[in-house]
């Protein structure tokens, strides 16, 4: 990425279209992933009021949003910035007419907006957290819950000894209380009771997978918590602050006694923020109370910083946050939940990757697809938890309905289809979930599924007899050579004969399993 006009640094603008505010950061990124902030803007909006009531953005809200972005664009233009990354989260994400809004923004403000889904928020949150805590707090030794209570949605990430296990995107937030009745202002006790109950329900549900009492580290992301940290610990120079539980409880208590007007005046906040501050803090408090943590770690970074960091990492190639590792952790956690055969899953995934890499010239796919293949390999058999008959179909809907850290909906759609086609009939025009994919994604599904079938065939006995192979390509055929040490492989050969048909279809030549040393090697 060379840009002759800006020799060493890269200026980027990141815009975050949220539920109660549109925010923008302009920064220089580069070198060793440092971010130098040039501008930070925010302007309140009331998107939540529209979307969470009617499901749509009203025309006034849209106009207001477009005007704000036009103003932001003029700030961007002052720097001659070309790299603009604009994302929209919960309220816009859920608005039925979001496409119109995004089109209006493009036409009238010249900014392309991407809808960010919950799992991507998770990914950026983790990038931000890791960068904020870098070297100071070792998450490898902790059981940790990361929470961000947004205005319209709440994100939870559980990390077990540094490994992401479970993630949740919840459709509740500080302007979207679990029961809309609770929004009837004035009755704080009632709001508190509703919150308590609903958060208890959520954590109960999560507790099936994650023992809440083992959580010793509570990390709170989000503007409201950064605000708290600024009020209580204003002079910390670090990229995060640590707040004691009782201090936080005291602060929440004080805020609870104030009217939004008083909060706005006292802390120079705009009314929208002042109004949602207390509910947001109550959310955090209730989450905190479900854990054993005695303190709250508040990173000073946001998902906007996460985006900037990702851009910086792309620019510099320096210390990339290993997101794929966490994606796989999260996939394995899901596998465990459905009692997968881990040995088989790992073996199939690894064989599939080997084949993927060996076929690089033939399929033309990249690292993202490789990751999707690996996740598919891990999860292809989880449907047997329901029933082994037709388990590929069970795998499909289990993947579809689960959250996997760092994967967006389109990614998950591909994985669900790949596991769906890891056995039995290949895709057909009558298969609605397959046909509803984008054309390019259908091609990816076919290629990945055909590779996965071959890998699965090689471990058909679930004994991991074959752990490696060498691919031999001739004019009209592919051959997989495995070593003599693998013993009798007739079962696998038979299986491949049945499952290799799709591979032959997709790659244009049949594939065979051979034992011994390939002639060329």
């Amino acid at each position: 990425m060379s840009d002759p006009e800006i020799p060493t640094k890269h200026i980027a603008a990141v815009i975050d279209i949220g539920t109660i505010a549109i925010r923008m950061v302009i920064a220089e990124v580069g070198g060793k992933n440092e971010i130098r902030y040039l501008e930070q803007l925010q302007k309140p909006v009331r998107f939540g009021k529209d979307v969470f009531k009617t499901g749509r953005l009203g025309s006034i809200a849209m106009r207001q949003g477009v005007n704000i972005l036009r103003d932001f664009k003029s700030v961007i233009d002052a720097y001659g910035i070309k790299r603009i990354h604009a994302i929209a989260t919960s309220a816009v994400r859920e608005a039925q007419n979001r496409d119109n809004f995004i089109d209006q923004i493009y036409v009238r403000a010249g900014i392309e907006v991407e809808i960010l889904d919950g799992s991507e928020e998770n990914r950026l949150q983790l990038v931000a957290v890791e960068h904020a805590l870098e070297g100071r707090i070792d998450l490898e030794k902790k059981n940790c819950l990361i929470v961000e209570v947004g205005s319209g949605s709440t994100e939870m990430i559980f990390m077990d000894q540094g490994q992401v296990s479970v993630t949740r995107t919840l459709p509740i937030g500080s302007v979207r209380l679990p029961e809309q009745g609770a929004a009837a202002r004035g009755d704080e006790d009632f709001i508190q009771r509703v919150l308590k109950k609903s958060i208890r329900d959520i954590t109960k549900n999560v507790a099936r997978e994650v023992p809440m009492e083992r959580i010793d580290t509570f990390i709170a992301l989000g503007g409201d918590m950064r605000f708290v940290s600024q009020q209580l610990l204003p002079d910390t120079a670090d990229r995060f602050t640590i707040l004691e539980r009782k201090e936080f409880v005291g602060f929440v208590g004080r805020v609870g006694k104030m009217t939004p007007e008083e909060i706005a005046t006292q802390y120079s906040l705009d009314y929208g923020h002042a109004e949602s501050l207390y509910p947001a803090l109550l959310f955090y408090l209730n989450f905190l109370n479900t854990t054993e943590a005695e303190e709250i770690i508040i990173p000073k970074l946001s998902i906007r910083d996460g985006l900037l960091l990702e851009m910086a990492q792309v620019v510099s190639g320096y210390k990339r946050t290993d997101v794929s590792r966490q994606v796989l952790n999260s996939a394995h956690h899901l596998g465990t939940k459905y009692m997968y055969d881990k040995g088989h899953a790992v073996c199939v995934a690894s064989l599939a990757l080997k084949l993927f890499d060996s076929l690089a010239k033939d399929h033309g796919m990249g690292p993202r697809e490789r990751l999707l293949l690996e996740v598919s390999g891990i999860l292809h058999d989880i449907g047997t938890y329901i029933s082994s008959s037709g388990h590929h179909k069970h795998s499909f809907y289990l993947v579809d309905a689960s959250e996997i850290f760092g994967l967006r909906q389109t990614d998950k759609n591909i994985i669900a289809n790949v596991v769906r086609y890891h056995r039995r009939v290949p895709p057909r025009e009558t298969h609605v979930p397959y046909m509803s994919l984008a054309k390019s994604d259908r091609a990816i599904v076919s290629k990945l599924a055909s590779i996965l079938r071959v890998a699965d065939a090689l471990d058909t006995a679930h004994q991991q007899k074959i752990r490696s192979f060498t691919l031999e390509r001739s004019e009209d055929a592919y051959a997989l050579w495995v070593s003599k040490d693998s013993g009798d492989i007739s079962l696998e050969r038979e299986s491949l004969r049945r499952k290799g048909d799709m591979f032959a279809d997709v790659f244009g030549a049949p594939i065979d399993l051979k034992q011994g040393v390939p002639p060329a090697a």
Binding site: P7, T8, E39, A78, G80
Partner: protein
Amino acid sequence: MTDTVLQERYFDRELSWIRFNARVLAEAMDLSNPPLERLKFLGIVSSNFDEFFMVRVATIPETAPLFSEVYRQAFSLLRKQQTYFREVLVPELETAGIARVFPQALNERQQLYLKNLFLNEILPLLTPLAVHEKRPFPNLVNLSLYRIFEVLESAGQDAVRYALVEIPKQCPRMIALPSESVHAFILIEDVIGFFAQELFRGFMIGRQGTLRVTRGAEFTIDEEKDEDFANLMSEALRTRRESPVLRLEVDAPDDMTDRLKEGVGIEDHQIFRGEGWPDLKGISQLAFQPGFEAIKRPEWVPQPVPEMTESGDIWGLLKEKDVLVHYPYDAFSSFLRFISAAAEDPDVLAIKQTLYRTGHHSPVIDALEKAVEKGKQVTVLVELKARFDEEHNIEEARRLERAGATVLYGVVGLKTHSKVCLVVRREPSGIKRYLHLGTGNYNEKTARIYSDLNLFTSRDDLAADVSSYFNLMTGFSSPGHFAKLDVAPYGLRRKLLRLILRESAQTTPERPGLIIAKMNSLVDKEIIEALYRASQKGVRVKLNVRGICCLRPGVRGLSDNIEVVSIVDMFLEHSRIFYFSNAGEEEVYVSSADWMPRNFDRRLELMFPIEDGKIKKELTRLLGLYFKDNVKAWTLLPEGEYRKKERGDEKKFRVQEFLCQKAIENAALQNKQLSLELKPQKPKRPVSKTMPS
């Protein structure tokens, strides 16, 4: 002077303001000033009171005891001013060769000259207004001078009728007369009076008089209603003639005065009866006549700041260090260099600036126009609520807008009072921003008379804050977090209260806390109370408040440790500097804001910390100098009186004079340093391509 309000915890702000003008008047009567310098001060007293009646008196309820007290005290000062002028200054001026000629003393040649002038240039501008019993009284324009005539039918008649003529503003107030030896002039109202017959043909002219009305000018605009602020302001200016008359200055026979009183609807105590010299502000223009050096103060020439103006690489300089510039000792050319360098530099991407009371044909605007032509993004915040200068500001704003700059007319509901300029520059190491932060307007004229501080810096954290501040002012962003700046109305008062409180908390008998603050006005009650508490805890508080001060210093048990001085001298003290000893970790701030509710609550103001150690020391020393002055300094007494500081045996020390001397030395020193620097030829940096917009 005794006022009942003096018994209170605070001084009344209006009366305190009148006292400030008493100090200005004292300066006008100080014989150590040359006559024309004294005349200037007399003019300032007049224009100050004009503004006072328009802006302040309009806000006092007529029923309040203060209302008549204000008139009593103001008129007593104005009477003193008139008497002094007539009895002392006029004879002195005559001795020096500046003399007013009355119509009856005109010689033939002068009469002829004036007649021509009157017929060709004045008469066409005159519009007589008849005062009829049965018609509404004519609407008199605020602050315009009028001549009133008794008009009689040529044949004897009973009813007396009056006519009013507005003295045209386009004409000079004083008309120089052809004469041999002296600078002889005649007042235009005398000329109009003398040739009035030409105006009222077929009538007889009886007695005459002169008058002037002052109207309340505090107007409110429905800012939500109209987005085009410039249009809105023009409208507001026109309606100014509708507001109630608060003062009538008149020099006419009693029956005429009575008729006028009835006509404009005013009480006796609001009438100021003059004696031949109305509107001394106009007359004081004599002080700016060329020549007469013998009776003028030697003109101070602001000293250039060679390190700014001569430096080949101003950006390099500012990357290395902060530069402090002190008007009017240092010259405005330092800022002009900054802004023109920005306009010319191909790597400068954007310039953002507040404009509030720019001068006529401002070179600042020229530079900004040039920057636009060169393709830079120029954003200008023009403040249209600057008192009485709106028409001019609007004109300048339109000019920039036509050139292609983004011109914004202030924030609805808040007056932009801060003075800040931001230059965004693309450099090999990344984006670099350069700032000018000041206490004075971007006006080369006032920069010669107002004492103001200017900081040029490239500090990153300040720059980021200033960017946010512009986004706030332009309405692009809500107030966010500021790392270094403090911004009104978003917490400036709170910050100052915290600083004062911290001083109280840290003070010990061994090491008493110290606050030194210099400002124009101190009115805010919360701040005053905090200062009282600090004083009671043992903090020493030294205040240098030029104008209004509502704090009562030196009252036992209330403010024992507070001292207030006021400096009134040739330059208008205008900078705001605040020092806090902070238990040894001294902090110094400079601000555009006075400690007044309006500055804290209804204006966009800035306070910025001085972080450069050298500059911090310099400002701390400067603050101390103001308390050393024993020539032009006044001490505020617990009862509210100001007393000129007693010198005793001390050596004379006049801070403004001292600073002039120092500026000369500084400039010389910098020149020397610059000429000593070796300047090797450097290969020119390749000019980078301009960015596509």
